[in-house]
């Protein structure tokens, strides 16, 4: 090692902190100028951690389920009567659905309807939250060789979750519809009016930009629209709910706070490329 005089060494140690602070500024600029480098570093780390967190998430979720089970024991009576009522209601709907299904099939047969091709999908485990403080996203463990691509649509068993925005070799990051950068073109089911679902980092994204004269109705179903070629039409997203301040929000169908598994559908939609980084300018130009 090079021998340095004591005053020189002291001066050098005093300089370290300012130099590193300058380095932090440099990192800020680099991260902004070249999003790909940071994204690669992030996904490389995610690739290492995803299998480990995947192993961890099994026992952790069984612990959570155990706690839930204990809690449910105390509400057994109310749950039971609520479920009985719900079952009654659903039985009626089932009858309606079966009748409509038969009618739909008959009409399609008469019209020589060209059926939509069944989309291919893969199912992946959600291994960790990948949002940080200022974003809402989840990390999936995909395993090598799985056909996952940017822009694929993620759904849980109930509804729309989000889209794949970043890809690693063994992991993928899905930006949720609640993320502040998320914009989803939607259709209000009863009026068939188009609107945009705007994430706000909260649990309930907002509905905006509906045409004048057809505002969202409380309790109305909202589905995706094929506009902008980012999502296929008709995926269930949620129901409209007005806040006390008369703001139209959406209660998502998907259980976004407790995602365990999602299905990634490949609809071949490449109309809007997925944002490159965790936080990007909404609607901004995205590099491939």
């Amino acid at each position: 090692m090079i021998r340095l005089s004591i005053p020189f060494r002291q001066a050098l140690s005093k300089l370290t902190l300012p130099v590193l602070i300058a380095g932090a500024f440099g990192l800020l600029l680099l991260g902004k100028a070249d999003t790909v480098v940071m994204q690669r570093a992030r996904m490389a780390l995610a690739d290492v951690l995803a299998p480990v967190y995947g192993l961890l998430s099994e026992p952790l979720s069984s612990v959570r389920r155990g706690v839930d089970d204990v809690r449910h024991l105390f509400t057994l009576y109310e749950d039971n009567s609520r479920l009985r009522q719900e079952n009654e209601r659903l039985r009626q709907w089932q009858a309606v659905a079966q009748a409509l299904d038969v009618e739909n099939a008959a009409l399609k047969a008469n019209l020589h309807w060209i059926p939509d091709p069944a989309p291919s999908y893969v199912t992946a485990h959600v291994v960790a939250d990948a949002g940080g403080i200022y974003a809402r996203a989840v990390l999936l463990s995909t395993g090598p060789g799985t056909a996952v691509a940017k822009g694929q649509v993620a759904l849980d068993d109930r509804g729309l979750v989000g889209r794949v925005t970043e890809l690693g070799a063994r992991s993928a990051r899905v930006m949720l519809i609640t993320d502040i950068s998320s914009r989803v073109p939607v259709v209000l089911e009863s009026s068939r009016a188009h609107a945009v679902l705007v994430g706000n980092n909260g649990a309930r994204p907002r509905l905006m930009f509906w045409p004048e004269g057809s505002p969202p109705v409380e309790g109305e179903r909202v589905t995706t629209s094929a506009e902008a070629n980012a999502f296929p039409a008709g995926l269930p997203v949620g129901v409209v709910h007005y806040t006390s301040g008369k703001v139209a929000e959406l209660v998502p169908y998907a259980q976004l706070d407790r995602l365990e598994m999602v299905r990634l559908f490949d609809y071949g939609m490449r109309g809007v490329l997925a944002p490159e980084a965790g936080i990007t300018k909404p609607g901004g130009e995205v590099k491939k």
Partner: protein
């Protein structure tokens, strides 16, 4: 690698795991900030500036934050802790905590402002407030544990 650096890195990794805690991202950032401030104040030799830099990079990568934001906030918090070292370490715990309140609010505000600026949008301030609040509330608890460690395991003379 010293004890403070390793434990802070471990804290970051553990709090990035799918524990399902409410506000887990805030806990992660706040907990590590407490550690950085504590060690910067009481034993900067065990957590040199370069370690703070690397921990910040790890935190930014884990939190999917714009690169450099956490690094900058932590280096500044660490720098302040070092600068106040002479005066603060002689004062009582309560005053150290008050100083940390200022640092935690400043760090959260800086992170919020920088992230907002870099993403060209006004991010919700509630998340930053929660982060600062958790850090302020967590500091006394962590300080008790870290003071123990500071006097025993992390002290090379007693190791």
């Amino acid at each position: 690698m010293s004890f403070p650096t390793v434990t802070t890195a471990a804290l970051l990794l553990v709090l990035a795991a799918p524990l399902g805690l409410p506000g887990q991202a805030q806990w992660q950032q706040a907990g590590a900030l407490c550690c950085v401030f504590f060690w910067g104040l009481f034993r900067p030799a065990s957590m040199p500036p370069l370690a703070v830099f690397l921990l910040g990079v790890l935190a930014d990568l884990l939190a999917y934050a714009p690169a450099g934001v956490t690094v900058l906030a932590w280096l500044l918090a660490y720098g302040l802790a070092m600068r106040w070292r002479r005066g603060l370490t002689r004062l009582g715990f309560l005053l150290v905590w008050f100083a940390f309140v200022a640092v935690a609010v400043g760090a959260a505000a800086l992170e919020w402002a920088a992230t907002s600026l870099l993403s060209f949008q006004f991010l919700p301030m509630g998340d930053a407030l929660l982060e600062a609040g958790i850090a302020i509330g967590l500091y006394p608890l962590l300080a008790i544990g870290l003071t123990r460690a500071h006097q025993t395991i992390a002290d090379p003379d007693h190791a």
